[in-house]
Amino acid sequence: MPATFTPKNVEIERKHTGIGGKPPVDRRPTGGGGDGDNWDNRPSGRRGPRELLSRYRLGVLFALAGDLMFFVALVSAFFVRQSAGHFDARENYVSDWHPIAVPPILWVNTAILLLSSLTMEIARRQLFREIDVMEEWLGLGRPAVKRAAPWMVVTVVLGVLFVIGQWIAWGQLTQQGFHFNSPDPSSHFFYLITGTHGLHLVLGIVALAAALGALFTLKRVELRQIVVDCTAWYWHTMGIFWIFLFVLLAYFQ
């Protein structure tokens, strides 16, 4: 009977590094480079200080690639629907597509979202300053957390402002008579695209809030880096998606 189905757990989970483990920075603090440092020889899972981080980054990258295809499908439906039309009884080509002018508040929202990406990046970089990481790893304090947390709070606030701004834009459109169920396909697409993107941002805000909480509760330095790093990449990607979607809605009606 092969050992691959032994019920006992072969994984030895190390709860926290503490003194003597490897600090989560690329370079080791004291020299190193000897044979014991040949991480390639070690079993996967402990092959390097940033293996866990790169594993999660890889996962986020692939997940976002799938998400990109979701928006690509919506955008291609946008163009197909835009070019659809029919011939009436007098052989005139009629299209039911009436371009809508995007509410001006979208410009403000876009600026807010770009700003929030900036603050998120500042927060993310705090977690990777080598001197702070070493200090946290040695247990001398939590300078990285202290520096990053305010920037993340700012990001959450800006993110909430963006979502509120989108809500206001919806209200303005409704007042102009563009409801979701008005017969105009361009308004369907406006609500669908901003709606699905907004849903992604709400998820992002929840993730940010969770990451903020995790900064103070997680014991391992690597895990604190991972939650902030992955949330940041998600947030940046949603910002980039929004720029493309906004250009689409504003200029390609």
Binding site: T4, P43, G59, G66, A77, R81, D96, N181, P183, T196
Partner: protein
């Protein structure tokens, strides 16, 4: 309970396989009901009574959805990959074990939601597994098109998210968790197949999710993405804008065609491994075989239009799609030649898994041959939506896919239970299934050539009559019943062997790939995946977990 809410990849693999077992049992029952109804449309069935036309359409829809999503996607991709992928690449676990569990539970939820459509008083959805609008977009279009169709959309939406999470996990595992020395050219071909199908899953299931969102919005929020202007359903004008069902077809088949490759590529990888193992030979042209798997996946993204030749799509687009479709014959043929040259004069060990792998090859060729016929727009104009198409995809996707899943279950059963499956029962299961499957699906070509359309509930009606092919259809039904009955042998073998089967020895198939290693190897991998030495009775082989310097 601890076994149920596990994050261990092997237990999850078994759970995935059990889920698809439940789905395949339901789907097979539905197909038997369909077959019985086709030849005795006016005979009341026990428990169900007289079947109405819409009941027949509901059976078609649910059979297709269950088989394509919950059997041919879940078992080869999620089930087998969870079971052996980490072992095969020398990893201890998946990259994200919890994500794997979440993916399984979402799939189980989607399955429950789909099945619950049968319990609705208005019945299950009718619009086929491809759910073409406007039928699928209008609640008044049929009895099951109200709540039933909503449940279908909900179920498929959840399934999309689950498949997407599963693919993220597989990709991160293959790219990030390989053991030391497990280079690209040392990966078993199953891993190459899972790599390709995971990329396809990421790219296409999100598109299906987007299409489902648009369709849901058409049904409930008054938009008009898919419903044409002045469309009349049941005497009422329902079309509000210039929507187009073609848009759905494009979005759906952009998903639907790669989905076929998601179902079959793992089987191709597994068959290659089994052919090498049971002929005791190296895989002929390993690098070419791996490259062709990826090429089939890549080309598979460019051929969706061949489902739409008669849909009113631009005929020039049809020509382009015909060219890309026929181009797929090239890598497929290379694969087949690779398999045949591995098998040729190879002193086959005809164990049950090997028999099923050979059955896979047989169906792959038999079903593949009608592919280039259907890829011609001119021929497809006649054959479209006839039983010829049904015969084609049941041979190449359903039978080839299911036989490769059977091969995998017989082959990896010792890893799941520590026991072997009964060989005699297995062989009996194989031979009856093989003959009955050909008996079921080969005559369908004839029905199709006679012009019998796919979704008609009865052969002889007031308008058209296909009563001359009734004898042919009778033969198909009896053969299908035999095919279903043969699976009882398999079920019995499965559960009896799990309890009282013969104990498996260490590495019972004398395999070289890492999932059979006695323990997770701690040293560098230094060998290729298929180092068998010249075939015949000699059992010289060098497993991947042995060091390269060790000489005998």
């Amino acid at each position: 309970m601890r076994k149920l809410f596990t994050t261990d990849h092997r237990s999850l693999g078994v759970l995935y396989l059990l889920l698809s077992l439940a789905a395949v049992a339901t789907g097979t029952l539905l197909s038997l009901l369909m077959r019985v109804h086709r030849i005795w449309p006016d005979t009341p069935l026990p428990l169900l009574g007289l079947m109405k036309p819409e009941d027949y359409l509901a059976l078609v829809t649910m059979h297709g959805t269950l088989m394509v999503f919950f059997v041919l996607t879940v078992a080869p991709q999620n089930g087998f990959a969870s079971l052996v992928l980490p072992g095969q690449i020398g990893a201890r676990h998946m990259a994200f074990p919890r994500l794997n569990a979440i993916s399984f539970w979402l799939m189980a939820l989607a399955f429950t939601i789909l099945i619950s459509a049968f319990a609705l008083p208005s019945g299950a959805p009718l619009s086929g597994w491809a759910s073409y609008p406007p039928l699928s977009a209008i609640a008044s279009a049929g009895p099951g098109q109200g709540t039933g169709m909503d449940l279908w959309l909900l179920s498929i939406g959840i399934f999309c998210v689950a498949a997407w999470l599963g693919a993220v996990n597989l990709l991160a595992t293959i790219l990030g968790e390989r053991g030391a020395g497990m280079t690209w050219s040392r990966l078993p071909l199953t891993v190459w197949a899972w790599l390709t199908t995971s990329i396809l899953t990421l790219l296409v299931f999100s598109v299906l999710l987007a299409a489902a969102v648009l369709l849901f919005s058409d049904r409930h929020f008054g938009s008009s993405f898919f419903v044409p202007l002045n469309d009349v359903v049941n005497g009422h004008v329902v079309g509000r804008g210039d929507g187009s069902p073609l848009l759905w077809l494009h979005l759906f088949w952009f998903f639907g065609h790669p989905e076929v490759y998601i179902a079959i590529l793992p089987g191709m990888g597994l068959a290659t491994s089994l052919f090498a193992n049971f002929t005791r030979r190296r895989v002929a042209g390993y690098k070419v075989m791996a490259a062709m798997l990826v090429a089939i996946g890549g080309l598979g993204l460019l051929v969706w239009g061949h489902h739409m030749f008669v849909s009113g799509m631009n005929p020039y687009a049809g020509t382009a799609f015909a060219l890309t479709t026929m181009a797929i014959a090239v890598p497929s043929t290379v694969e087949v030649i690779g398999w045949l040259s591995t098998l040729w004069g190879g002193g086959l060990r005809l164990t049950t898994p090997m028999l099923f792998a050979l059955g896979f090859l047989s169906f792959f060729i038999a079903g593949g041959l009608t592919g280039p016929i259907l890829a011609q727009p001119a021929l497809d104009t006649y054959l479209h939506n006839t039983f010829f198409v049904v015969a084609h995809f049941h041979l190449i996707m359903a039978m080839a896919g299911v036989f490769s899943v059977f091969a995998g279950i017989y082959y990896w059963f010792p890893l799941m239970t520590g026991r072997m499956m009964n060989d005699l029962l297995g062989k009996l299961h194989f031979w009856i299934s093989l003959i009955a499957a050909y008996g079921t699906f080969l005559p369908m070509h004839i029905s199709g050539l006679a012009g019998e359309p796919r979704h008609y509930e009865r052969l002889a009606g007031p308008v058209v009559s296909f009563s001359e092919i009734l004898p042919n259809e009778r033969g198909i039904t009896w053969s299908a019943i035999l095919l279903g009955a043969a699976q009882l042998l398999f079920l019995w073998n499965l559960f009896a062997s799990a309890k009282r089967g013969e104990r498996a020895t260490e590495n019972p198939w004398q395999a070289t790939t890492l999932e059979w290693a006695p323990e997770i190897p701690r040293r560098r991998i230094e060998r290729g995946p298929y180092e068998y030495e010249n075939g015949g009775t000699e059992s010289m082989f060098r497993p991947q977990w042995e060091s390269a310097s060790k000489q005998e």
